[in-house]
């Protein structure tokens, strides 16, 4: 396949894309109904609140424990993987990660790469990098395949093509796959994808996958999937390259078990996915199949910035289930592409500032009503609203202000005008005398309330203060005139 043009989108253009998304009624309906479907599916997997909360406590404890020992666990993972014949690579930046993989491909003379689902590979724009250097890179997860065929990017971390209807996909297949006619029959569409990709699995030189949990103690990569493309990608090609963020490691196999229960139940409302694929190294003497060589690429890309701060570190507890986006009122309205980031929705809003810097992502932390639905369903209890508020604070902080752990892009939203407005505001509300003056003015001059009140009146009638404030009413009562 020829290189598909990728849409390089900037998170800085968030607002414009939001307007487009909100104007697209069809898209909004797709997302809303898909989100309700996924919410109901998840709820059906957690019928017992006591068990649910106990398991979430445990999931959180596992992730916090792993993060507390992160550097030691990464070294342990590396040593145990190496003992099993896996080559371990470390990448600071997306470019380094891509270059490592390109080097492996070049040394092996590989031309064809087949990919299982990996959000980290999306994060580093691997397909684009390899295609530009003459290495064909084909997505094999059905959703990812559809999105790649359309020249788009995933709009959801678990369901990449959730923004598309079956009609969209029927048209896409008809246009892009030779010899395929238009059909809205989902089984037939899936069968088409299967036929195209099976041949590619057989021919591929390299299989690339993500990692759901890496187990330090045993040197094991745990992959979770339904389709079998992950198993094919990690089994059939001669070389398997796994990619993961440095936060994905846990200490022991036992520690991974509660996460393996929480992940599918939270993500797709399944008790377990079709396959849990636990890989502990390449083909050994006596094995008949499996890749002959295996690599793991560990990516930082800003994660160590989140790690440096004791509060923001909770961002890295994430197991990428997507439940936060499924339950988010904002995500359900604007869809995944509007965010312009690899990871959309609430988790993307707290993770992207570390990956991209606050400058490029400054509108993301504010795009939340802080309703808390995300934190309520998060299987590892990431306090997403608190982290959003913290990022807002860092974005508002003066760019030069000295802090212990400055974030990249600190002060991206700083404006002297805004700062003065808040100073003024707090000056009024912290002073009974000034606040009395405000009340007096607001109630006596209520008829002068502006008809246009910033964003409020775009969708609402104007607010008009009451004729007498509660303070006035209470004072009158105290004077013995309770009838007012």
């Amino acid at each position: 396949m020829s290189a598909q043009p990728l849409h390089f989108v900037s998170p800085a253009q968030f607002r414009g894309r939001v307007s487009e998304a909100l104007a697209d009624d069809g898209l909004r309906d797709n997302f809303r109904s898909a989100m309700h479907f996924l919410r109901d599916k998840r709820a059906s997997q957690f019928p017992d609140p006591v068990e649910t909360e106990a398991l979430r406590d445990l999931g959180e404890a596992v992730r916090k424990h792993a993060l507390a020992h992160l550097p030691a666990l990464l070294e342990k993972l590396e040593a145990n993987l190496q003992a099993r014949g896996v080559e371990v690579h470390w990448a600071d930046t997306p470019d380094e990660a891509c270059a490592i993989i390109h080097r492996i491909a070049t040394e092996a003379g590989a031309r064809r790469v087949i990919k299982g689902k990996s959000m980290v590979s999306e994060e580093v724009e691997l397909n684009h990098y390899l295609e530009a250097r003459g290495v064909e890179c084909l997505e094999s997860d059905m959703g990812e395949y559809i999105v790649q065929l359309a020249g788009e990017r995933p709009s959801h971390i678990v369901m990449p093509a959730i923004h598309k209807t079956k009609q969209d996909i029927a048209r896409l297949f008809e246009q892009k796959i030779p010899g395929v006619g238009y059909t809205e029959d989902v089984d037939a569409l899936i069968h088409t994808g299967r036929q195209v990709l099976r041949e590619r699995f057989m021919q591929a030189d390299i299989g690339i996958s993500g990692v759901n949990f890496a187990i330090a103690e045993t040197g094991t990569l745990w992959l979770v999937e339904n389709e079998g493309n992950g198993r094919l990608s990690t089994t059939v090609p001669d070389i398997h390259i796994a990619m993961m963020g440095i936060e994905k490691v846990v200490d022991t196999l036992e520690h991974a078990l509660p996460l393996a229960s929480l992940l599918p139940r939270s993500a797709t409302g399944q008790a377990a996915t079709t396959y849990f694929n636990l890989i502990s190294g390449p083909r050994r003497p006596g094995d008949q199949d499996g890749p002959r060589r295996m690599h793991l690429v560990l990516l930082d890309n800003g994660r160590s910035q989140a790690y440096a701060d004791a509060q923001l570190r909770a961002t890295l507890q994430c197991i990428r289930c997507g439940a936060c986006m499924n339950h988010c009122p904002v995500y359900a309205r604007v869809g995944g592409h509007a965010y312009g980031t690899t990871y959309p929705g609430p988790i993307g809003q707290i993770l992207s500032p570390h990956l991209l810097g606050l400058e490029a992502s400054r509108d993301l932390p504010t795009a939340s009503s802080l309703c808390g639905a995300c934190a309520e369903v998060c299987p590892v209890r990431i306090p997403i609203p608190s982290l959003l508020m913290r990022l807002r604070t860092e974005a508002n902080r003066a760019p030069g202000a000295a802090v212990a752990q400055p974030l990249a892009g600190q002060g991206a939203s700083f404006s002297l005008g805004q700062k003065l407005v808040w100073r003024f505001w707090s000056g009024i509300y912290a002073s009974p005398g000034r606040y009395r003056l405000l009340r007096w003015a607001a109630t006596r001059l209520r008829r002068l309330a502006p008809r246009s009140q910033m964003g409020w009146t775009q969708h609402r009638t104007p607010l008009v203060p009451a004729a007498r404030s509660l303070h006035d009413l209470m004072k009158a009562r105290a004077r013995g005139r309770p009838g007012v």
Binding site: V18, S19, L22, R32, H36, P329, V330, R333, V334, P365, T366, A367, S368, S369, L370, C371, G372, A373, A375, E376, M389, L391, R392, T393, E394, A395, N396, S413, W422, W425, S426, Y429, A430, S431, P432, Y435, R439, A442, T443, M454, G455, W456, T457, Q458, H459, R460, T461, P462, L463, V464, P465, A466, R468, S469, L470, H471, L473, M474, K475, R477
Partner: protein, 253 residues
């Protein structure tokens, strides 16, 4: 399952909140009436203003701290502090103590105050165990909107349901996506007006499908939903739960 009921006080503070103070003062007054009906003396410190939430949630903790510190000084008697708003109660209960990590003395006072903060509906049910079986009025169907903070930080949706269900002649109708946010989010409604507008449009639609009057314990949500409905020309109107309860107790429709 409820813990042992806290001792019934005979004096309480009312923290009226800035939105009620300027935009829905009768809700504050009705909260006072409901508390007095139970034989309590209600103290309203006149120097009170705002819990500081707008600054806090928009990432301006210094300004939130300044405003919160001014409030904390007003509640020196050991009386409960009743707040007719779930989100302000949540701010005071859960976030005030975190504002003063660098000031142990003020933090200790903030903790003491935070521990005495109650959301109104929760207070009526849990502490006062009110009996509203003698309320009257025309049969009416209402919807209930619980703010996200009330629901998730204060756990008081159940109290709203309990209070409304106990009223003779009142039918409570649940609407689709009841647990979903109304899109207010304070400064969010100004900063991301389009997204907020899309969310509230759906909330107005789902409430309108079951009722044309809804009750809520949060003025932020109430103003958001009511003014959005008015903007769309829909008849949906909201009422603060304190006002609705007071009217039913007086036998009004």
């Amino acid at each position: 399952m409820h813990a042992v009921r806290p001792p019934r006080p005979d004096q309480v503070y009312l923290f009226g909140t800035c939105l009620i103070d300027l935009f829905v003062p009768e809700a504050g007054l009705d909260a006072v009436r409901l508390l007095e009906r139970e034989g309590l003396t209600v103290h309203y410190p006149p120097a009170q203003s705002c819990c500081g939430q707008p600054a806090f949630t928009s990432g301006n903790p210094d300004e939130a701290r300044r405003v919160a510190a001014a409030q904390i000084a007003l509640f020196d008697q050991p009386w409960p502090i009743v707040v007719p708003s779930g989100s302000c109660a949540g701010m005071m209960r859960h976030h005030w103590p975190t504002l003063f990590d660098d000031d142990p003395a003020l933090q200790a006072r903030a903790r003491d105050v935070a521990g005495r903060v109650h959301e109104l509906a929760g207070f009526l049910v849990e502490v006062l165990a009110v009996d509203y079986s003698a309320a009257g009025g025309e049969p009416v169907t209402v919807g209930l909107h619980t703010s996200c903070s009330a629901r998730r930080e204060m756990g008081t949706r159940v109290h709203g349901v309990q209070l409304l269900s106990a009223l003779p002649g009142v039918t409570l109708d649940t609407h689709a996506s009841e647990s979903e946010c109304c899109g207010f989010g304070g400064v969010f409604s100004l900063k991301h007006a389009d997204i907020s507008g899309a969310i509230v449009r759906d909330k107005v639609a789902s409430l309108s499908a079951v009722c044309d009057r809804f009750v809520t314990a949060d003025c932020g949500c109430m103003l958001n939903i009511t003014h959005a409905a008015e903007h769309q020309g829909r008849p949906l109107r909201g009422e603060h739960i304190a006002t609705f309860l007071r009217r039913r107790l007086e036998g009004a429709a």
